[in-house]
């Protein structure tokens, strides 16, 4: 299986980059491949250059960044919680990030600048992290974290429902709903620069935990006996996931199931060590989201289907399949 590692990562990188490249050619305005290429290298006409540089390239880059973050966070959390059904949403921070975004929309701050909404969402992720950190400092096992995550996500969900409930008019409610469904349409490089540091910090902190996650294969005591500082692992993983996923939700809205599905898709090609899953999951997440974001532009519907909806439609069958497999083992 080790022999597969480099080809696997190479294949996933190529796949992700081709999906992203393909998506540069997709959009309401029909640009030929030549014009896109020319615009990319700064040679083309003004219209093509504007479309490629201001609309399509940021979108493609965001798909790669956010997909990588969600995939990596999913793999790390499944390893840490030793639960194949864990995903980045399990800690509740993506829900609080969504709540932050919804509040920005609800109170109209989102209209002030295109930065307000993402900043509110990142703020939401950080607020959601506080109870988790307080808990993580005390508890030993992962179960308390999962339960706290459920509680935080539920509370944030209630907050979002309340905002919809009190929405001043149907348009406001629709605006909130639409944002929640997740999309990468009409994003600019401002969003890329906002997401990039969050994702870089998030993925960096996650990649540092590889050994600790491997040791956790033997359980908490087994890992501690191997010299792993579990408190530190937990802290860095929580902060990394919250900042990274918070930043991702901030620019894209809620995109579910990528973090759950991707580790399952790549796991059969790895040697099952959680550390060997991290990089392929990041690359696979980037590829999947870039592909899904291309799909939403290819399907011939009047309105572009929301990215978050497409990833969920893709994710649910895999989730059910995994549940059935897990059931057989119980």
């Amino acid at each position: 299986m080790t022999k597969l590692r480099i080809p696997l990562n190479l294949a996933l990188t190529l796949f992700a980059l081709s999906c992203a490249a393909l998506s540069l050619g997709l959009g309401p305005a029909h640009l030929g491949f030549g014009r896109v290429l020319a615009a990319l290298v700064g040679q083309g006409d003004q219209v093509a250059a504007t479309i490629v540089w201001q609309l399509r390239l940021p979108r493609a880059l965001l798909a790669l960044l956010i997909g990588a973050m969600l995939g990596g966070a999913g793999a790390a959390l499944q390893g840490y919680l030793r639960n194949p059904l864990a995903d980045p949403g399990v800690l509740g921070t993506s829900s609080t990030a969504a709540l932050g975004g919804v509040l920005a929309l609800y109170y109209g701050f989102a209209a002030v600048s295109q930065l307000t909404l993402p900043l509110f969402a990142i703020g939401g992720a950080i607020v959601g992290l506080v109870p988790l950190l307080l808990l993580a400092a005390r508890s030993e096992g992962p179960l308390a974290l999962i339960l706290a995550g459920v509680a935080i996500a539920t509370a944030a969900g209630a907050g979002i429902s309340l905002a919809l409930n009190f929405a001043p008019n149907p348009f406001a409610a629709v605006e909130i709903m639409t944002w929640l469904m997740g999309s990468l349409a009409d994003r600019s490089f401002v969003h890329v620069w906002l997401a990039l540091p969050c994702v870089a910090i998030g993925l960096g902190l996650i990649l540092l935990q590889g050994r600790a996650l491997d040791a956790l294969t033997l359980g908490e005591e087994g890992a501690t006996a191997l010299g792993i500082d579990l408190k530190r692992t937990r802290l860095l993983l929580l902060i990394g996931t919250a900042i990274g996923v918070g930043g991702a939700v901030a620019v894209s809205g809620a995109i579910g199931f990528v973090g759950l599905v991707v580790p399952h898709l790549v796991r059969p090609f790895t040697d099952a060590r959680p550390s060997s899953l991290l990089l392929p999951s990041m690359l696979g997440g980037a590829a999947l989201l870039a592909a899904a974001d291309a799909v939403v532009r290819i399907v011939p519907t009047l309105e572009e289907p929301r990215l978050g909806v497409i990833t969920v439609l893709l994710g649910v069958p895999v989730f059910l399949h995994q549940l059935m497999r897990a059931r057989r083992q119980w």
């Binding site: 299986m1 294969t217 005591e221 006996a225 191997l226 099952a272």
Partner: protein, 253 residues
């Protein structure tokens, strides 16, 4: 090697180990006693995994003050049970034993590879090295986990019920391995339930009951009929077979 002075462990408000004092150095030392006597808690306290009152010194250093990595290189701990959360291959799992020796981001060095090979060879797992752990029998899994502990190459080996789930042949094989470790200078402390195996293979037995150390010494001195009756609540046949001790619990008192 290990010095215990008035060690007390509290878990969930109850004292599960009460004032145990002993010097444990060299050989195979068996920890015996009924279920819930506090054997596992004592082993976990020695490994530094649960807080304890009193003193636990490993080569003169307080176990609680040892840096985690240092502690992990000095103490190999084989936990009770066979929890392995992901289907790693046998080789990958045994390799986890080398984690305490690896510098950050370093790949395994020759010495690590050798330790892994040796652990696999000594537990007769070379043929199974590529097999995922979830495809092995309970006995094979137990051997893999023991190999993982051996790969740490620590001067102290703590094994919590290493014979559980093993058939008689593999039980004897594991006791052989523990004796081999002791012959290499490792201090082996093992929680055991089978009194005959404990008497036959251990150099010294510590009998624990209700959290207290009630007897400590050579197996024949510790395992008297009277004591087995008092601690386990059973009468026992104590005899010899081929010059080796034989202890068979017979009936409830």
């Amino acid at each position: 090697m290990v010095r215990l002075d008035n060690v007390t462990v509290r878990l969930g408000g109850a004292e599960v180990v009460k004032g145990v004092s002993a010097d444990l150095s060299g050989g195979v030392i068996g920890l015996i006693g009924p279920n819930g006597a506090g054997k596992s808690s004592l082993v976990r306290a020695i490994a530094g995994l649960v807080p304890a009152k009193g003193e636990i010194l490993i080569d003169g250093a307080h176990v609680s003050s040892l840096p985690l990595g240092d502690r992990a290189r000095r103490i190999a701990y084989l936990p009770q049970g066979q929890a392995v959360h992901w289907p790693l291959t046998v080789e990958r799992l045994v390799a986890l034993g080398r984690l305490p020796h690896l510098a950050p981001f370093a790949r395994p060095a020759d010495v690590d590879v050798r330790a892994i090979e040796e652990a696999l060879a000594r537990t007769e797992l070379l043929a199974l090295r590529e097999r995922p752990i979830d495809q092995l029998s309970g006995g094979e899994r137990a051997r893999v986990l023991l190999a993982r502990a051996l790969a740490v190459d620590a001067p102290l080996l703590l094994a919590d019920e290493p014979l559980a789930a093993l058939d008689p042949a593999h039980q004897i094989e594991v006791m052989h391995l523990l004796r081999e470790e002791a012959a290499r200078g490792v201090t082996v402390i093992a929680v055991l339930h089978d009194l005959t195996l404990a008497a036959r293979w251990c150099d010294r037995l510590l009998l624990i009951d209700g959290g207290r150390l009630v007897a400590d010494g050579a197996p024949r001195a510790v395992l008297t009929g009277e004591r087995i009756g008092a601690v386990y609540g059973v009468s026992a046949f104590i005899g010899e077979a081929g010059g080796e001790p034989l202890i068979v619990p017979l009936a409830h008192h």
